[in-house]
Structure formats: C-alpha cells, structure tokens
C-alpha cells in the first residue's frame, strides 16, 4: 500500500521533487504573506482614516473576499489576471500579449485572501494602542513617520504576533489550493507523482506529513518570536 521505495532521492524516487515542491510551497507562502501584510496595512489605513469612500472600499473588499470561497478567488485571478494586466498595459501604450507566470498569479491570489485576515488582526492591535501614547509622541514633536515607526509599529507587532501566526497557518494551508493553477507545490507534486506511479495513497500521505511538518515547525517559530517580542511584559 505505502511504497516507501518511491520516496527515495534521485531518479528512482520522488524525494528530490518533493523537496523542491516543499520549498516552492514555503516560497509562495512567504511571498504572499509579505504582500498580504503590505495590502493589509493599506486596508487598515483606509479603514482608520476618517474618509467615507476609502472606508467603504476597504470594508467591501474584506467582506467580499472573506465571504467567498478561496478557490473562487483563485479561479478569478487565474483566469482573469492576464486580461487585467494587459488592459493596464494598454493604458501605458504596450499592446503585446503578456502572460503572468504561475508563481506571480499564485502569490497575488493568496496575498489577496490572506490580506483580509491580516487586516482584521492588525486593525485590532492598532486599536489596542492607547491614544495617550500617540498624543505623547506628538507632544514630543515627533512627525508622522517617526510616530509610525517608533511608537505604533513596535507595539502593533507585539499585539498582532499571535494573530499573525494564525493567519500564517491559514495562508500555508491555502497554498494547497494553488495546485489548480498548475504551479508545482506539494499538492500538485503529489498529484503528478500519484498519476505516474498509480499510488495516490503514498504520495497524498507524504503531502499530508509535509504540511504537518511545515505547520508544526512554523508554529514553534512564532511561539519563540512571541516570547522575544513580549520581553518585559508579563503575558
């Protein structure tokens, strides 16, 4: 049933392919988590400045993406991403055919999804900073940038870390959906191998174990980070 000999490294087995696929999963997760955090910061900013239009757009974005299945969002970006990029390029006078590669599409799709979750975490941790601190910073004559980088960000990071850890786990697991776009990550690799070897059980269990390792290890990493960032605070 479970063919261990198919998992060796080299030409006889699929070990090295799975190693590369695991690195691809990690790469997509890290890239989309980073891009997602960037989008989330913009979304939070749009929600907390007193502007009705930006707040409406941000709320619309988070409500729709969180209410619609991830797979549907991925399909939309996979099938529709090229057309959007080409129409934007047309505005700048570039009329040739552009094709986004699978990694770009995967990163953007997962980032769009993970940003909605991150934005909720970041917003909650921003609201947890007491107003007095920002006022005190202003009283000291700090400008907006130094208030953001020296007063707000360090505290937001500390408050948000547990929530961001959860979002990371969700993002990591969401990357398995990217296999529908043809990017060879763990899930896609296990489908390819099982089609070749006619042994789906072996490779799907391998995929499950790899995901389990990734989530467990990254959970540990986030625990350590939390301890580091909450130095001097009894939690």
């Amino acid at each position: 049933m479970f063919k261990f000999d198919k998992l060796v490294f080299g030409d006889a087995g699929w070990g090295d392919e799975f190693l590369i696929a695991t690195l691809m999963t990690l790469l997509v997760s890290i890239l989309s988590m980073g891009l997602g955090l960037f989008l989330a910061i913009i979304t939070v900013w749009a929600k907390i400045i007193q502007n009705r239009i930006t707040r409406f757009i941000a709320n619309f974005y988070t409500t729709v993406i969180r209410g619609v299945p991830e797979l549907l969002v991925i399909y939309l970006i996979f099938f529709g991403g090229n057309a959007v990029v080409m129409s934007i390029a047309k505005v700048f006078g570039y009329n040739k055919y552009i094709e986004l590669n699978a990694l770009t599409i995967a990163t953007i799709a997962i980032a769009v999804i993970s940003a909605t979750y991150s934005s909720e975490v970041l917003r909650a941790s921003y609201l947890a900073i007491s107003k007095g601190q920002i006022e005190a910073a202003r009283a000291l004559g700090m400008n907006k940038f130094s208030i953001f980088f020296k007063v707000i960000s360090p505290q937001v990071i500390r408050h948000a870390l547990p929530g961001i850890g959860n979002v990371w786990q969700i993002t990591l697991k969401d990357t398995s959906l990217i296999s529908v776009t043809g990017l060879v990550e763990i899930m896609r690799q296990s489908r390819i191998s099982s089609n070749v070897e006619h042994s789906p059980l072996t490779f799907l269990i391998t995929a499950a174990i790899l995901y389990l390792c990734l989530t467990t290890i990254s959970g540990r990493v986030f625990k350590t980070l939390e301890v580091n960032y909450s130095k001097g605070f009894s939690t």
């Binding site: 409500t63 209410g67 099938f79 529709g80 697991k173």
Partner: protein
C-alpha cells in the same frame, strides 16, 4: 424599458446566475449532512478530550493536531483518490459510499469540522466556572444530568460566536469538493470561466450566491445567540 430588460436577460451575468444557481442545491446538500453530523461528533470529541481517560484524550488530541495541521484539500484527495486506490476498501461495503464524490465530500468535510469544532467546544467546556458545576453537584445531580443541564448549555452558548465562524468557513469549504468532479456552485462557475473566458461574470454570479449563503448563516447564528443568551438581551 423592455429593451433594457431584454439586454439584462441576454447579459452573461444573468445567464450565469441561473446556471450557478442550479448548483446551489448540491452545495446545500453537502452542508445539510456534514454540519449537523459535525456538530454532534464535535461535542462528543470535546467531551472525550476533556475526559479523565488519558488514552482517549490523547487519541483525540492527536486527531485534532493532524486534521488542523493539514489542508482540507489533502484530506478530500486522500479520501477520494487515496482510499479508492486501496484494494480491500474497494471490495468492502465502504466502496458504495466512497465511489461517489458527494459522499467523499461529506466525509471529508465532517472529519474536518469535527476537529475544529471539538477544539472550540473544549474551550467552552473548560471555561465553565467550577462553582456552577459544584452547585449542580450539591443539588445531587448525576454525571449525565450535570452534563445535560449545566455543562453543555453554558458551554455551547459561550462558544456560539466562534462556532459561527467555523460554520462560515464550512460554507466556503464546500467549494473544494468541486475538485472531485462534484458539480456544485464553484464547479459550475469554473466550467463557465473555462468555457466563456469571462471570469468576472462567473465570479460575480457565484460570489453573490456564496455571500448570500454566508449572510443567512450569520443571521442564523445571531438568532441562536439571541435565543440562548436571554440574560444578555437589552430589554426583555
């Protein structure tokens, strides 16, 4: 006016909407079986997790660990492709269920929601104040009565918001069953996208339906919260 109505009727979104709508019953069917089953099993698993039988508690803990650490897609594929490739399962009575993508989807969704639900309920059960259990004991309640009258009602109403979240995640998770050739809303939307190359129209049609389903789910959970938290209502 009539021209306008005609143009709407001929528009792609309008046509897609009804195409996707035909998959709504399949989506709801998945939910109707896996959600109630998942709820009951999650309660049982949570009770087993907090029980004093160490072995049972450990087994359930590792089950929860494995299911929460792997993507749902892996679980669906394992059940649909993986179990189907084992010979003795193909020859057993299980094959009657496992050869249908629908039942594979139901089993995978149930297994998944039980793990998350059990963890949520465990939090609820463990957050019950000791004094309430003690007051029950002092009234001479037996173990079962204590469970039925005190522990479960308080635990369930405490975790309603987070269980509601899990219900919404489940509505979204049904879309993954489309990858096992089961034609529910996402499967049909995908077919439309591949056929017409009009992804936005198909996305809007399916998205509206999913948002509507989730909206209903939120209202349902809100109603349950209102009903089971009478002491928190503002004016009764």
């Amino acid at each position: 006016m009539i021209e306008f109505l005609n143009s709407i009727q001929n528009s792609l979104i309008y046509k897609n909407f009804f195409l996707v709508l035909s998959g709504l019953d399949n989506t709801i069917l998945l939910l109707l079986i896996s959600l109630p089953l998942g709820f009951v099993l999650a309660l049982l698993f949570a009770l087993g997790r907090v029980s004093k039988i160490t072995l049972l508690s450990r087994i359930i803990a590792s089950y929860i660990f494995v299911i929460r650490g792997t993507p749902l897609l892996v679980q669906i594929y394992l059940i649909y492709f993986g179990l189907g490739s084992v010979k003795f399962i193909r020859e057993s009575f299980l094959w009657y269920a496992l050869k249908e993508p629908f039942w594979c989807g139901v089993i995978a969704l149930t297994i998944n929601t039980v793990a998350y639900g059990a963890e949520i309920f465990r939090g609820g059960i463990q957050s019950i104040e000791k004094s309430q259990v003690e007051s029950g004991l002092s009234l001479g309640f037996g173990k079962f009565l204590l469970l039925r009258k005190i522990i479960l009602p308080i635990a369930i109403r405490k975790v309603l918001p987070s269980y509601g979240n899990e219900l919404i995640l489940m509505v979204k998770a049904t879309s993954l069953v489309s990858l096992t050739t089961y034609m529910e809303m996402t499967g049909i939307a995908r077919k439309i996208m591949a056929k017409t190359f009009a992804p936005v129209e198909a996305f809007i049609a399916a998205g509206i339906l999913y948002l509507f389903l989730n909206f209903l789910m939120v209202q349902f959970v809100k109603y349950l919260e209102w009903k089971y938290n009478p002491h928190l209502r503002l004016n009764n």
